[in-house]
Symmetry: C2
Subunit: 335 residues, 2 copies
Amino acid sequence: MSTLGTVGIKEVAQRAGVSPGTVSNVLNRPERVAVATRARVQQAIRELGFVRNGSAATLRAGQSRAIGLVVLDVGNPFFVEVARGVEDVVSDRDHAVILCNSGESPGREARNLRVLAEQRVRGVLITPADEDLSMLEGLRDRGVAVVLVDHPATGDLCSVSVDDVAGGDLAVTHLLDRGAERLAYVTGPLGIRQCVERRKGARRALRNAGLPARALEDVVVPEMNAGGGALAAEKLLAGGVPDAIFCANDLLALGVLRALAQAGVRVPDDVALIGYDDIEFSSAAAVPLSSIRQPTYQLGKIATELLLEECDDPSGHAHQQIMFQPELVVRESSR
Amino acid sequence: MSTLGTVGIKEVAQRAGVSPGTVSNVLNRPERVAVATRARVQQAIRELGFVRNGSAATLRAGQSRAIGLVVLDVGNPFFVEVARGVEDVVSDRDHAVILCNSGESPGREARNLRVLAEQRVRGVLITPADEDLSMLEGLRDRGVAVVLVDHPATGDLCSVSVDDVAGGDLAVTHLLDRGAERLAYVTGPLGIRQCVERRKGARRALRNAGLPARALEDVVVPEMNAGGGALAAEKLLAGGVPDAIFCANDLLALGVLRALAQAGVRVPDDVALIGYDDIEFSSAAAVPLSSIRQPTYQLGKIATELLLEECDDPSGHAHQQIMFQPELVVRESSR
DNA sequence: TTGGCCTGTTGACACGTTTTAATACAGCCG
DNA sequence: CGGCTGTATTAAAACGTGTCAACAGGCCAA
């Protein structure tokens, strides 16, 4: 039943009357061992409650059956959906996912990557916290496959992303169509690429409409969650509320929405509001939230397929940069 | 710079002019090695870009510096908040967390536990998917510390939980106070303990109010998310909408809320609604959601402290069962 | 000077598995 | 009967680190 200490491949071998090598074969290439022997070994495994020591296996094999996924914020449903796509692909190939949270901090990201490197993961899926990709290139040079998620690569890495400039354009063009003249852009730190790109798109929309760049005021907050949104709303209420607000993600928008409601500002009558990501909760918000939808699940799925492809054939692999187009979803908050 | 292949402790040792044992000491007990030597070794490590092979370290040490966290649903903000509590404690002690998702399925839970066992994690934090704890006791007998999260233990395991019976009572008592006479309980599979306990509390509240058990209709759906809530709402709309609805968690309640709104049923005028968990999105919902609040972050934090305590002193450790009390939060949906 | 102690360092082995080359054996054909 | 093929199994050599007993050398007290 439950032996204390450690029951290894040797004990199993002895019990089944075979050599350790055969037990290993049963575990890894069952087809190479005769049916009768195989059955005997499997029974011994069951009887002794043997579980293979993954560290030893990994050590010997030189690489593990795991991949790392480093996201900016596990609390953000966007990344949870990405993770779902990743896991669905990975578990089919019976690999494991080690999920890490960088919290948008390059320091924590670096720590996470070090752990993943120590674990000798086969590959890493990552949404980088800043533009410095040197550590990732270091990983790749060390033989760890890397795919950027929600971040376009420049050519020597694979990437799967969504056109954030187009998304920003889509959002602001919509707000302008609706008659807005004074706009605000609520965003996280401008070290985050998505924030910058979406702003770029927003400004492009402004230009196309013949409006000056100053028609769009930036409101930068340190964290891209509901708390950050509330903070941004405070700032806006203090400085005079604009016609329309574009938030760099839905969590910010939900925070803004709640804070505005508490202050008696009506959405969309007094101010139009649009978010980004189209997370599930947006449609159930106090005022259903307009948003920019991204193929989130697909992002995780495709990225993982690319990663595993690179793992399986590291030499004959051409890096690909895949970019999806986002989609405008109009709801009550900007009607 | 970036050597291909593998740079190990030996190369570092050679470069620094010391023995491999000394390098290992620098890594694990820096205080035992002279400052000058230590500096030389650390420089060699930097120059060669050495990263320690975690598998080898784990193999030799017999256990890793990681703990496993198995939750019912990573998509549920409740568990995300628990995970945050876990990670905050764990990263202070520079351990790592391996986050696994059972999706409420005992099968996936078993697979996850097997992977964790193979990885030789020091301990496991788990919200079990069913009442069969035999596999967990097996783990514990094998020397892996186990703490139950959001699930009370019977005595031979540690656990940190919240009084779900009290929570169910709180919710339904509130609905009854508000004048409800025909109630519905929207819940996930009754294999899940939380669902059963909360119903038990709900029925207790009914009894205390002198009402028959049939005043509370069970609506069971397969998944405890917004989709499940929508499904439940369909059933309710078909069978006649009650006065008040108690949902086993907030995701269900949000799903119910949205579906009712689409069908033209007003909350709280036509029907009162209350959820469970008090996730962040509940207060920002179309109709701000009443809910039962739990000390979610604390749950993760305390559970992890218990776990690490058990890891550090396995023999002189007395198992504890800690139970928190939940709290009623009244918002618009049941006013 | 000798003996003892403390601090730093070393060398060799062990951890549990995978893998490879070698071995045993049966069956088949010439 | 001998050589050959193919299958099933084995023995032994790694993989990269941690540990621990042993050892070197400097210092102080006797």
